[in-house]
């Protein structure tokens, strides 16, 4: 009976919206607090995403990297010439246009360079490369100048190093390992770790540093599915003491500690901060209810259901969260212009990466903001809907 009015009509959204607008200062402060939390949340997500992107893009799934067994990174690894020869003659290796296998022996050493605007050295990776190195990493482009000539003390510098360190411009000379090295080019490696490296001829660098061993061997697979069997075979080969990893796996391992650190720091920070913002929303919504008790009574007297009142106040809280979320994301999107460079503990050298915003992060941040609004608004909204009409009207 009396069902005709049960069609659950809702109080218009404009009601919630205008109530927020009327108390501009309070709304601004509450949404502002939430915006800052969302900003921190989004920034940290963008940072760990940027780091991930950098390291994942550095490697290719087709490429396999060989290091000494037990070595965490190329820096600690060593592969000698005999071992290299064994690996280079495996049938699974792809070959280039000239028929030679696509494989490169590389040496990696860190040197201290002075960052612009500081006087303290930071570690930068010098990579000794061979002719094949560029073929195997198609993401690399020469921006300025040319490649180093084989057999000469010439180097090229990643653009991220060129930007942030002094004395590494084209035409300048860099002194390390008792020799002067001529910078003949700047290369761009996109958002990869290579952008933070200096490259030169492998043999020259080995001589200069008096290193008899290569750090790593990288080769292209003819067919990606051969990987498990090849890994099995090489790792059990008694003449070799090596670890066989896909390049992508290798670079992911490299950043694990840093990524975990950023994630843990980020989760705990946003966790604590969101508590603060939710308390802000709670205070605002409580006051919003308290100031409008008579209004709530009137709406109920007119025939609006408890649910409609609940929804109207939840809508208000969600709008608050949405406003905070959108402003937070807009703020965070400016972070994309910033590049962070810090030492990667695992490789002991500089790594530059940027904040990278994705649709997924935007959605997650919005959901996060709405959740903050919802949690902050839930109790007051329930309270509003539970008011007794007569009591509310007397207020």
């Amino acid at each position: 009976m009396a069902c005709e009015g049960l069609a659950e009509m809702r109080i218009p959204l404009a009601y919630s919206w205008r109530n927020l607008l009327t108390r501009r200062l309070t709304t601004f402060l509450t949404a502002g607090g939430m915006a800052l939390v969302v900003f921190v949340f989004a920034s940290i997500m963008m940072l760990s995403n940027g780091l991930e992107k950098t390291l994942v893009e550095t490697g290719s799934d087709q490429n396999v990297i060989i290091t000494r067994k037990g070595a965490d990174s190329e820096m600690q690894s060593g592969v000698d010439r005999n071992q290299a020869l064994i690996i280079e003659t495996q049938p699974e290796l792809a070959s280039g246009q000239d028929g030679a296998p696509l494989v490169t022996r590389e040496l990696v050493v860190p040197i201290g360079l002075i960052k612009r605007g500081t006087s303290k050295p930071s570690n930068v990776i010098i990579r000794g490369i061979s002719q094949q190195s560029l073929l195997m990493r198609p993401q690399i482009r020469i921006l300025e100048g040319r490649l180093p000539r084989q057999g000469s003390a010439e180097i090229i510098v990643g653009n991220s190093i060129a930007r942030r360190f002094s004395g590494v411009g084209r035409g300048e000379q860099l002194r390390f390992a008792l020799r002067d090295w001529q910078v003949v080019g700047i290369f761009d490696a996109g958002a990869t770790g290579f952008s933070s490296e200096v490259w030169g001829d492998c043999d020259q660098i080995m001589q200069a540093f008096r290193r008899p061993l290569y750090s790593s061997l990288t080769f292209r697979l003819r067919d990606s599915v051969d990987f498990p069997s090849l890994k099995e075979r090489l790792e059990s080969e008694p003449r070799l003491t090596v670890e066989v990893r896909r390049e992508t796996t290798y670079y992911r391992d490299q950043s694990e500690a840093m990524a975990t650190f950023i994630r843990i720091l980020g989760i705990s920070l946003t966790g604590i901060f969101s508590l603060g913002a939710m308390i802000g929303a709670l205070i605002t919504m409580y006051a919003s209810v308290a100031n409008r008790v008579a209004e709530i009574g009137t709406l109920r007297a007119l025939g609006f259901q408890r649910l409609s009142i609940l929804l109207a106040f939840l809508a208000e809280a969600l709008l608050l969260g949405l406003a905070g979320g959108i402003s937070g994301i807009v703020l965070a999107s400016f972070m994309q212009f910033i590049t962070i460079s810090t030492m990667n503990w695992q490789t002991f050298s500089e790594l530059a990466f940027s904040f990278s915003l994705t649709l997924a992060i935007v959605i997650q941040s919005l959901v996060f903001a709405l959740a903050m609004g919802l949690i902050g608004g839930a109790i007051p909204a329930v309270q509003a809907s539970r008011l007794k009409i007569v009591d509310a009207l007397r207020a």
């Binding site: 108390r23 037990g70 650190f261 205070i283």
Partner: protein
């Protein structure tokens, strides 16, 4: 006293709102305190270093070693009191998760240079006598349940293989800020093995530790040492222990800066929350302010009431926050002693807490007070209805 009573009554007129605001401020003060403590833990190594100690390393980078034979030439430099050397070993215990700083050292000279590591005489001589002996910090030994006499096996990441040691001593820190999480063993043991397996890497060391006769001589001695090896295959870079530690920190500076910024963001967030509370409170009381004004109270009375109330709330939150910081930091330290061997709340952090909460209180009261002071009596009275 009457004033305080009035302020407290006013502040708690909306009990729930007051409690929520205080909780918010307490959370902010708590997280600010923790973040600052994280930052100071980052610098703990540098702060604990002695001005009398220099460190010499390969000028190219720390990954390169120096010939151990340099030792005798360094000792002859004017102003040098003592020389020792150490090699970063980078071992892990059972799995990668159990990572801690481990060094191959020359035992007698090294321990002599680090009086902050307290080791009993008998343990010291046991350690020196046993070629495969090792010494661990108190916290490290506790974490893994090691007792003196136990045998400990580490896996080398830089020097491959399994390395077996006998725990001959457990050192304690002289001060609270001493790192009790390190692991030391004989450089000779490492070197003998390297001689057998990879002679190329033998007779090398990562760093030399140099004790100078007087801190004033540091820069002079450092220059003299670097001059000795200029243009040799392995040039040295000598600096004070503190500068050496700071190089590490400066490389991760971006993270420290980020934590610093974020610790102030939380204060701004809570400022917004507190300002919101005060804005609402004042809005509800405009009528009362108008009545007070009509009775002849001046603007400073009204502003004083608003500021007094917001500062009171902020200080209560601050007290609660500081009270929480200690137990939470202790729990944190227990969880993270692997990363932050020293995790102590500095006194300056507490002063800063107090200062910032005062600031939050004042900023929160600013706008409402301005509006309340400006409101015309007639307008204010109309709002009562």
């Amino acid at each position: 006293m009457f004033i305080l009573k009035l302020l407290t009554r006013n502040a708690f007129r909306h009990k729930l709102r007051a409690l929520l605001t205080i909780t918010g401020i307490a959370i902010a003060i708590l997280s600010f305190g923790l973040l600052r403590t994280v930052v100071s833990a980052w610098y703990a190594g540098a702060h604990a270093s002695s001005g009398n100690r220099l460190i010499s390393r390969n000028a190219i980078s720390l990954v390169f070693s120096l010939p151990v034979s340099y030792k005798d030439r360094i000792r002859q430099v004017e102003g040098v009191k003592n020389v020792s050397y150490a090699n970063w070993f980078g071992g892990v215990y059972i799995t990668e998760k159990n990572f801690f700083p481990s060094f191959a050292i020359e035992p007698a000279t090294y321990l002599g240079m680090y009086p902050e590591f307290i080791l009993s005489d008998s343990q010291t001589s046991d350690f020196i006598r046993d070629r495969k002996g090792c010494v661990a910090g108190r916290k490290l030994a506790e974490r893994h349940g090691w007792k003196v006499g136990d045998s400990v096996t580490l896996k080398g990441t830089i020097f491959p293989g399994s390395w077996e040691f006998n725990l001959r001593g457990i050192y304690q820190g002289k001060k609270q800020t001493t790192d009790e999480g390190q692991f030391f063993f004989h450089w000779n043991y490492l070197n003998e093995t390297l001689r057998k397996n990879t002679p190329r890497r033998a007779d090398q060391t990562g760093i030399f530790l140099i004790e100078v006769k007087h801190a004033n001589l540091s820069s002079q001695v450092a220059q003299a040492i670097d001059g000795l090896f200029k243009n040799s295959l392995a040039e040295t870079l000598t600096e004070t222990e503190k500068a050496f530690q700071l190089t590490f920190i400066s490389m991760t500076e971006a993270i420290v800066v980020a934590i610093r910024i974020v610790s102030y963001v939380v204060i701004v967030i809570i400022m917004a929350v507190a300002a919101n509370t005060m804005a609402m409170t004042a809005r509800e009381r405009f009528g009362e302010y108008a009545i007070l004004k009509s009775m002849g109270f001046g603007w400073f009375h009204i502003a004083g009431m608003i500021f007094g109330e917001s500062v009171l709330l902020a200080l209560l939150g601050c007290a609660l926050g500081i009270g929480l910081t200690f137990p939470v930091a202790a729990a944190f330290a227990a969880q993270l002693d692997q990363f932050f061997p020293v995790f102590l709340i500095e006194r300056s952090t507490l002063w800063l807490d107090l200062f910032l909460s005062l600031l939050v209180g004042l900023v929160a009261g600013l706008f409402p007070a301005w509006r309340a002071v400006r409101i015309r009596i007639a307008d204010g009275l109309r709002r009562i209805g």
